[in-house]
Subunit: 332 residues, 2 copies
DNA sequence: TTGTACGCGTTATCAT
DNA sequence: ATGATAACGCGTACAA
C-alpha cells in the first residue's frame, strides 16, 4: 500500500505538498502539481479512506438504513431503492454502508451508534414507521438524514416520497368516473404514515361526492397478502353492493384478488380492484393490476441528492415529492 | 464523541489500560477492568471504527460486490443474497459496504481499489461472470474473497453455490421419468458458469439414456425473458415433437410460457416447461412453474461464514454446495 | 499489572 | 509556494 509519504519521497517534496496537490489546492506550482499527479498515477496511489475520515471526522459514506425487511420479500423495493441511492452516491464518490433494522431481533446497536462509529456523512432511511424506536432518535441526532416515504416534522431531517394523498385521490376519482358508487378501502399498517395519507385521500373523494364513509367498508390487511385475503373472504359475501376495492398496497390487492376468485366474484366485471406501488407482481398476476406506480429508484436517488445538499450546507427544500402515475391494467 | 482518552481520565488510568480492558486483554485486574467497562457504558462510549481500522490495517467491513444488476430487476435475488450476508456479518459485528459493478458504465474504480481504500476485511461477490474484468483481478489480489455461484479455480478464493450439474440432472431425470423423450434446453448466458453446468447436466442424462443431443434442440435465451420468448416463437411451430423444455432460468421459462400460450400450445399438456431458480414470479405465473429452488439467502450466509473463516485463518473447505430442491408445480 | 510512547495515513495550521 | 508538525483515536511494543 503506497501512501503520500512514498510519493513525497520520490517527488522530493513534503507530504504536505503532496496532499495539497492531490486535493487540488491552488497553492501548488502547476509544475510540481503535475509531477505529483503523474507520480501518483504511476505508483497506483489510492488514498486511505480511514485516515482521511479520522482527521476530517467524517467519512464519505452514506448509511443506508432499511427497516422491516425480511427474507423472501415479495417485491424488489429495497433493491430498487438501494440502487437509486447507490447511483447518486457513486456519482459523488461516496459509498453505501448497510444497516438493517430488525424489529424482532432488536438490534443491540442503535442506528446512532452505527452512524457515529463509522463517522457517516449522513443516513438514508427506508421502510421506517412512525412507531419505530429509531424514528425518535433522529430528532436529537445531529446526523444529516433523509427519510424515504416518511414525513419529517423536524426541519433538519429531509424527506422524499410521492404525494400519497393526491395519488389516492387520483385512484378514487378514476373509480368514481367509471361509475362506482360503493367503494371499499383496504388499509395497511396504521403506523405507516403512507397508510394514513392514502386513507385520507380516499375519504376526501368520498366527501367531495357527498357520500358518508361507512366504517364497515374500511378493511384492514396489514400490508399482508394473507391478511388481505382473510379480510376479503369475510367481507365480500356480505357486501354484494360493493363494486370497487381500493387497496393501499399491491400485495394486499393480490390477496384480495385470490379471495375474489375463490368466491366466484369476477374481477373487474363484478369487482374492480386497484392496488398501490406497482410492484413487479402487479403486472404478472391475473388479471394484471391497475395500480399507482411509484419509482422507488428515483425516489431514493433524490433522497441521496437531498442528503448531500444538506451535508454540504447547500440550500434545499427538506421535503420533496416525485411524480407518480396511475397504471391502468385489467383489474379495474 | 467520547474516546478512550476520556475514559482513561475519569478512571485515572492510562489509555493503554482502557484499550486493554475494552479488548478483553488478560493483563488487566478484574477490578479495574470492571470499573472501565462500567465507565464506558455510563459515558456511552463507542469505538471509532476508522481509528481502529487505521492502526490494524483492516476494518471490520465486508465488501459486497454485485455485478450486472439493473433497476427493475425481475427477481429478489440480490436482496435475498444481501440479507444472507448481512445476517452473518452482524452476528460477528461486521458491516457491509456495497459495490456495484456496472459493465456498461465501466466503473472508474476497480474493486481492488475499493477494497484497499476501505481496508476491507474481505469481499463477497455475487452475479459475476467469467468474462468480467474483475474476475481476473481476484487472482493476484491478496484480499480474502468468496464467490457466489461462480467456481473459483484458485485455492485462496472461496466459492459457494448449489450443485448445478446435479440439479440439472434431477430436472432431467424427473422429465424422463414422466415419459418425455424429446426434451429441448433453453440456455442462458454462456459466460455464466452456471449455464455450462446446467447444460452439462442436461447432456449427461441424455447420454445416460442413449439419446443423441440434437443441436437445434439447444435454444439460447440469454437469461432474458424477451430473448426466450423470441426463441420459442421461432422454435415451437417447427418442432411439435418436443414435449418438454428445460430452461436454465425461471425468467426465460416465463418468456417461454408466454410464447407457448400465444401459439396455442398447452402447458403442461402439450409441453412441459421447467425453470430454474424459483424466483418469486415462478409461483405467481399461470401455470405456476415447476423449478429448482435455490436459497440465495442461505448461500450468501454460508459465503459470509466461509469468508470469515478464511480471514481468521481457520481451516475451511474453499468450496461449498448447499442443498437445492425440485419444486413441482403445474407447468411440468 | 500498568504506563509511556510510537505509528497508522491523512488533513490542517503555522511558519518560512 | 512549500515544509515541519500537530492532531485524529486507537492498538501495542517496550519499559517500569
Amino acid at each position: 500500500m503506497i501512501s503520500i509519504k512514498d510519493i513525497a519521497l520520490k517527488a522530493d517534496v513534503s507530504i504536505a505538498t503532496v496532499s495539497r496537490a492531490l486535493n487540488g489546492s491552488p497553492n501548488v506550482t502547476p509544475h510540481t502539481r503535475d509531477r505529483i499527479l503523474q507520480l501518483a498515477k504511476e505508483l497506483d496511489y489510492h488514498p486511505n479512506a480511514m485516515a482521511r475520515s479520522l482527521v476530517q471526522k467524517s467519512s464519505r459514506i452514506f448509511g443506508y438504513i432499511v427497516s422491516g425487511i425480511k427474507k423472501g420479500a415479495k417485491h424488489t423495493i429495497v433493491q430498487d431503492s438501494l440502487m437509486g441511492v447507490y447511483d447518486y452516491a457513486r456519482s459523488i464518490g461516496y459509498e453505501i454502508l448497510m444497516f438493517v433494522v430488525d424489529s424482532e431481533k432488536q438490534n443491540t446497536k442503535s442506528y446512532l451508534d452505527f452512524a457515529r462509529e463509522h463517522s457517516l456523512a449522513g443516513v438514508i432511511m427506508q421502510g421506517l414507521r412512525t412507531d419505530d424506536a429509531y424514528y425518535k432518535d433522529i430528532i436529537d441526532s445531529q446526523i444529516p438524514c433523509v427519510l424515504i416515504d416518511l414525513p419529517a416534522d423536524c426541519t433538519r431531517v429531509g424527506s422524499v416520497s410521492i404525494d400519497n394523498h393526491a395519488a389516492a385521490r387520483t385512484v378514487m376519482q378514476y373509480l368514481v368516473q367509471k361509475g362506482h358508487r360503493h367503494i371499499a378501502f383496504l388499509s395497511g399498517v396504521d403506523e405507516a404514515s403512507v397508510t394514513t395519507l392514502r386513507f385520507q385521500g380516499y375519504l376526501s373523494v368520498l366527501a367531495e361526492n357527498g357520500w358518508e364513509p361507512k366504517s364497515d367498508y374500511i378493511l384492514h390487511g396489514n400490508f399482508s397478502e394473507e391478511d388481505a385475503y382473510a379480510a376479503l373472504r369475510g367481507f365480500l359475501p356480505d357486501h354484494p353492493e360493493i363494486t370497487a376495492l381500493f387497496c393501499a398496497s399491491d400485495l394486499m390487492a393480490i390477496g384480495a384478488l385470490r379471495a375474489a376468485r375463490e368466491l366466484g366474484v369476477k374481477v373487474p366485471q363484478q369487482l374492480a380492484i386497484i392496488g398501490f406501488d406497482d410492484i413487479l407482481l402487479a403486472s404478472y398476476v391475473d388479471p394484471p393490476l391497475t395500480t399507482v406506480h411509484q419509482d422507488f429508484s428515483r425516489m431514493s436517488y433524490e433522497a441521496a441528492k437531498m442528503l448531500y445538499k444538506i451535508i454540504k450546507g447547500q440550500a434545499t427544500p427538506h421535503s420533496k415529492n416525485i411524480p407518480y402515475e396511475l397504471i391502468i391494467r385489467q383489474s379495474g
